[in-house]
């Protein structure tokens, strides 16, 4: 799968992002024609509406994510561990986990783990006695079946913080790969990664915010390294520019394909000095990268039975349109009544598809007209891809039955693609 270049902007600054939510609108006029994935796909049209619990607070288009990390990890070889590996510890009683790595090229026997009794910790070339307050063996970790081929130690209070050297005294297979994970629970130093959205179309501009904080205040002069990890495990280092504390880089031209629903991951390794203390942190943000296989065109009509949405489909597949119907409460404010969704299997071409509402839910609701449809979303169910969303500040008027009988032209509302911008709905 080849992707159009998209730019990832990493912004390292004191402030967190303060960007309004964006709609998922294709930036390219070109849709793509791609084969259906080789999975079982439902072919029947299915409609479903459900009531929204009264007074439930909905946030349309919320796709934000913030990752907070108090740990770091790195990959080393058996040879390096036998020679000694430098570890920067900034938090007393940090936890160190060592996991033998199994790869497709390197088969790993069950007992291939480091015995905590074979670990030695030095600081300033002096071995620390009673360096560990807790040792967890492979057998103990394996009991929980969470960390096979792993062992862990907890630093003693007496060991303190600073630059250490950890060494395995028993001879290891020199080429065997190990993951060293340092977890500094309760540390005041936290890497914070934030993004406004996790789902993107190929070619869209992507932006992230990264900072290393101390007691929630950012430290300046952090250095960062970034790479993208595909679900296949393939990693691609990212070369980025740093200008006025803004880091930006472009996605590679090629990323290995994902299976439907699988995500890519952006990893950030950060390092910063706070006086003489060196702080390392690793964090990641998962994101979906979809191909624009279809889109909603600019016309939506709606009455109390259904909305009709025009779709332009480039790739055969199963597509769902969904939205939330709002009505007016006794305080003259809009509140959600129901969430409705309809899915259809569609071939390439132009289609007017129905998004059915449940008349019983209108009757049962205490909310009154004029009704609105908000949060319209188009997804490609066959490829598990979010393709398009109505902006959070847009809505479509739902004509009441009388208007419908009169054939009012006010049913028309234009969506998403910039042809008409609707006023913000009154709250």
């Amino acid at each position: 799968m080849t992707f159009t270049k998209a730019t990832i902007a990493l912004i390292v600054s004191a402030a967190m992002f303060n960007v309004s939510a964006t709609s998922l609108t294709p930036t390219s006029p070109m849709l793509v024609k791609i084969a259906e994935p080789a999975i079982q796909i439902e072919k029947q049209s299915v409609h479903f509406s459900q009531a929204i619990t009264p007074n439930r607070q909905l946030v349309n288009n919320n796709d934000q994510y913030t990752n907070v990390s108090d740990e770091y990890w790195m990959e080393v070889s058996g040879k390096q561990l036998n020679q000694g590996v430098a570890l920067h510890i900034s938090q007393p009683e940090a936890l160190i986990r060592l996991s033998a790595k199994q790869t497709s090229q390197q088969w790993l026997p069950d007992d291939h783990a480091i015995d905590p009794d074979d670990l030695s910790l030095t600081k300033n070339n002096t071995t620390i006695n009673k360096a560990f307050s807790q040792k967890v063996s492979r057998a103990q970790l394996a009991t929980a079946n969470i960390f096979p081929n792993s062992s862990a130690v907890k630093l003693s209070k007496a060991a303190g913080t600073g630059k250490f050297n950890i060494k395995v005294t028993k001879a290891l297979v020199p080429t065997q790969r190990y993951v060293v994970n340092v977890k500094e629970k309760g540390s005041p130093y936290q890497q914070v990664l934030a993004t406004q959205q996790q789902s993107y179309l190929a070619g869209q501009r992507i932006s992230f915010n990264a900072a290393v904080n101390k007691h929630n205040k950012p430290l300046i002069a952090s250095s960062h390294q970034a790479f993208i990890k595909a679900p296949t495990g393939n990693k691609q280092a990212i070369a980025f520019e740093n200008k006025d504390n803004h880091l930006s880089f472009e996605l590679p031209d090629y990323l290995p394909a994902t299976k439907p629903g699988e995500l890519y991951e952006l990893y950030i390794d950060s390092q910063v000095n706070d006086g003489t203390t060196v702080i390392n942190r690793t964090g990641k943000i998962a994101f979906a990268l979809a191909q624009p296989t279809a889109r909603m065109s600019a016309k939506v009509t709606a009455n109390q039975q259904q909305a009709t949405i025009s779709l332009e489909v480039a790739s055969n597949g199963r597509y769902e349109v969904s939205g939330i119907v709002y009505g007016i409460d006794k305080n003259n404010e809009y509140q959600p009544i129901m969430k409705s969704a309809s899915a259809h299997y569609l071939s390439a071409g132009e289609h007017d598809v129905a998004l059915n509402f449940d008349p019983q839910l209108f009757k049962r609701s205490s909310l009154k007209p004029p009704y609105q449809l908000r949060g319209i979303k188009l997804t490609d169910q066959s490829r598990m891809a979010v393709l398009q969303r109505q902006s959070a500040n847009e809505s479509v008027a739902i004509a009441d039955d009388k208007q419908r009988q009169g054939g009012a032209l006010s049913l028309l509302a234009l969506l998403g693609l910039g042809l008409i911008r609707l006023a913000k709905p009154k709250r």
Binding site: V46, H47, F48, Y65, L108
Partner: protein, 285 residues
Amino acid sequence: MKKIFISMLLSFMLFSATSSANQGLAFIHGTGNQTDAYNDYWTGSFVNSVRQGLNNPSKYTVINCDFDQFMWKSQAAGCLAQQLTTFITDQNITELVLLTHSNGGNIVRWVLSNPTYDSRYPNIINKISKVIAIAPSSLGTPLADAVNQGNAFIRSLSWILGYGSDAVKQQQVSWMNYYNQNWLLGTAGRPNLPVPFKTIIGSDVESAIWDGDSYCAGYQYQVALETTQNWLDSCSDGFLNCSSQRGAGSVWFTDKQRTAGREPLSHQQSRRDCFNLDTIIKNDI
């Protein structure tokens, strides 16, 4: 007199409605590819105690599916939908209670949140009266992230996470955030699920060697889960932070509020008949 008559009539109607419903109960396991979840995941003592809460205790099913897969896959949600459909049809179930553990809650949320994905889903949803979700991994777990740090895994018995399965990838924290915001309902700011989703929260792990309670469901698991708590918040069941367990639906109770002796439920103990958990659930059905 009129008020008394109306009250009696309403009580009779309520009783009639309840007694006329054909109740069914499904036990839905967590991560793992199960072929005998009755023995390997739940144990008979737990299942046979809980199902006594049904009008007819024989109307139950224990689901066996491949929940090492991503939740939407045919081997996961598709398998669950087929087994539930067969159960509903064969037993003529009109009121279905689902009891889930751990990642089983996510598979059920997939079905509830994506009714148009599969033509079998709407009928199942319309039959469900409630979901009792024990320790659901609704917001994922940092342990899944830790496991994936180096692909450092092997195939093992894997009752919690398994080896490097797709289900483990799915339960990483940032992955679950994406799925919650884009594909699943019930978390903060998102539409509610179409049926009640009541959660039971496990808040701690106790592994004192002198404490008999630490031996319920296996002492060795308690020791292991206390170790994994190092990657988690102070409120956790050894596998999941309480915040993740509370992340979707509504909290029914946190272990110590109702368990015998106010004992916490570790992630291992919350699928066993420990500290009256089975009786508490039975009485709610």
